[in-house]
Symmetry: C2
Subunit: 364 residues, 2 copies
């Protein structure tokens, strides 16, 4: 158990954006809100996955919707509190801890806002170890937890409870349509999980991992050196290319930001062309007609100078970027997981997932 | 208090379709289900509005969605039971009676199905005295009852609770998007109302009125005479035209059946052309460039031979129809009501509501 400092929050926002692989929404607004809470004297306390009581009630809280919308449509601030209260009221039990379903992007910080206003601890872990576009794409859901009853709330104060859905896909479909009607983004919370399940199904340590990643970027910035090789070393990643964005297609479809990016190599990679396809998050990296990296491994686009992540909503023509690939957590590589978050789940027919090696060459 | 017979149900279905003014969904499937329940020995008991206890919990149950969809997408049968249980569970109080929010069309019969399986009585009254396309268009909502918490369920078993919405329009918007995602139709129930409120805000006696209308049509059929003059006499209505449908535009937009009908007069009306515009229900009757009747008064299209109502979903080229106008209930004519269900609420700019005279020339 440790309280987070302002420095931790600054680093967390940077690291979470990197693990967002382009999605998860920009952490910027949520970061400012967390800093404001800390300056008001409120605490955000981190608790390890292994420290949870077996029968603790653990609630996921996070934003749902198109990242492009979050830039202009601000949240009101009490959305998380409203969904928490709705689920407590319905379930008749108090919530003991909060957890992010998605460490990548702004959703790393959403539970912390509600933690600050309720005093509840935040679990050091999440349900993706990155970001994904759909709600059933969490290890919580993949390994058997049912998301419903779940609740969503918007900035106006509307609260909708998904009392029961017959499948995770139905939950995704119904919740998505509510969120689109709410204006494209909302805050949601899924059915509380017992601590014993979180210990088994959560991707552990991802809040700390994000903070370490952010610290590393800040340190490199202070030393005026590139953060890219340090990130690759710490995360066992691959530096795929340094490139300029030479074309960009991006549009909203059914509440998602979808599109693709054309890259032209710079510096040591000049003359090389590459493509990245995204649905909120980067899905595939293709070079010379061959897909070199695909989901669920992480494709990360960093500003080539600062080492900060560039999310899909702020991509633009002419940006100079470094593209990295980071291996995902083994919980995302099982057959059950690949059925939900592998390339086929994104309609990428014919794309075969070849896992990036993890530490010590581990492909599991 | 009186139990309904199979004959009552047959007549009710005919009368409710007439009050549906083209919408509310076809009562056919719901009628068959009600008859099946009665033949199984279950009871459907009607209770007068004035017989309700002041603190009785009265629940509206009805179908939501595009009438055109209900022809092909059958309900499973327990949707009403699921929304009732969800609201009982959430509110912590038992429901004492059911009421239709909309007597027009199939929704007259939806509460009866749930009544048969629970033993709860059905109130002789409703929230429209006809049919309307949107959920906030009920006297319950107009005179101050808030629809939320409300629940919807589909044939798969999905149940969504609208815990709280900041306005009736937000409820309509969010519920509509859920219903569209459920495939275009679902069964919904709004927040339980106290009996004392139902006594004040319900359009009273509309179940009995529908049964009488249906009996009158059946009686005219047996005597091989037109039901039209009898309906006009009983309902203080106007026989506008007998005509042939010479053109028809109908499409689905945002979960609604919208379109317009071109009519060419027959028999005593030959040479006259007229137009009817609809959004689930018939909104305006226009002749010689002048709107003669508009919402909230009832525009009714009957088969010229049988006197049975023709709903928007079964309109077709070449049908020979009688068009009637019936005055709506005074509860629909107040300034509060017209703001929600008058012509402007349907985007009919410049159309002024001139009420049809009620019995004794009453225009209120």
């Amino acid at each position: 158990v440790r309280p987070l400092t302002e420095t931790d929050i600054e680093a967390l926002a940077i690291g979470a954006a990197i693990l967002g692989t382009g999605g998860g929404g920009s952490p910027y607004i949520a970061k400012l809100r967390c800093l404001q809470e800390l300056r008001r004297g409120r605490a955000i306390v981190l608790v390890g996955v292994e420290e949870l009581e077996d029968d603790a009630q653990v609630l996921t809280i996070g934003g749902i919707g198109a990242p492009a919308v979050t830039i202009e449509k601000l949240s009101e601030g009490n959305e998380g509190l409203r969904v928490l209260k709705c689920l407590e009221e319905f379930g008749g039990r108090k919530i003991d801890a909060l957890i992010s379903a998605e460490i990548g992007g702004g959703n790393a910080l959403e539970p912390m806002l509600t933690a600050a206003s309720t005093g509840l601890p935040v679990v050091d872990g999440d349900g993706m170890g990155r970001a994904f576009p759909e709600m059933q794409m969490t290890t919580f859901s993949i390994y058997g937890h049912r998301s419903t009853p779940a609740a969503v709330s918007d900035e106006h104060g509307n609260v909708v409870l998904f009392r029961h859905t017959v499948s995770e896909e139905w939950f995704e479909r119904l919740a998505r349509s509510v969120v689109v009607s709410m204006g494209g983004t909302a805050i949601g919370a899924e059915a509380p999980m017992p601590g014993r399940y979180v210990k088994r199904a959560a991707v552990p340590g991802t809040v700390s991992q994000s903070i370490r990643l952010g610290e590393l970027v800040l340190e490199a910035n202070r030393q005026h050196v590139s953060a890219v090789p340090r990130i690759c070393k710490q995360e066992h990643g691959v530096h795929l290319i340094d490139a300029k964005i030479v074309d960009l297609k991006r549009h909203l479809r059914g509440g998602f930001s979808v599109g693709d990016i054309a890259l032209e190599g710079i510096d040591g990679h000049s003359g090389t062309r590459a493509h990245i396809v995204f649905q909120n998050e980067f899905l595939t990296f293709e070079r010379l007609g061959r897909i070199e990296v695909c989901v669920p491994d992480l494709i990360v686009i960093l500003d080539v100078d600062t080492g900060h992540a560039i999310t899909t909503d702020v991509l633009r023509y002419g940006q100079r970027v470094a593209v990295l690939a980071l291996p995902c957590h083994p919980l995302l590589r099982t057959p059950e997981a690949l059925a939900v978050i592998g390339p086929q789940a994104f309609g990428l027919d014919g794309v075969e997932y070849r896992p990036l090696p993890r530490p010590n060459g581990d492909l599991s």
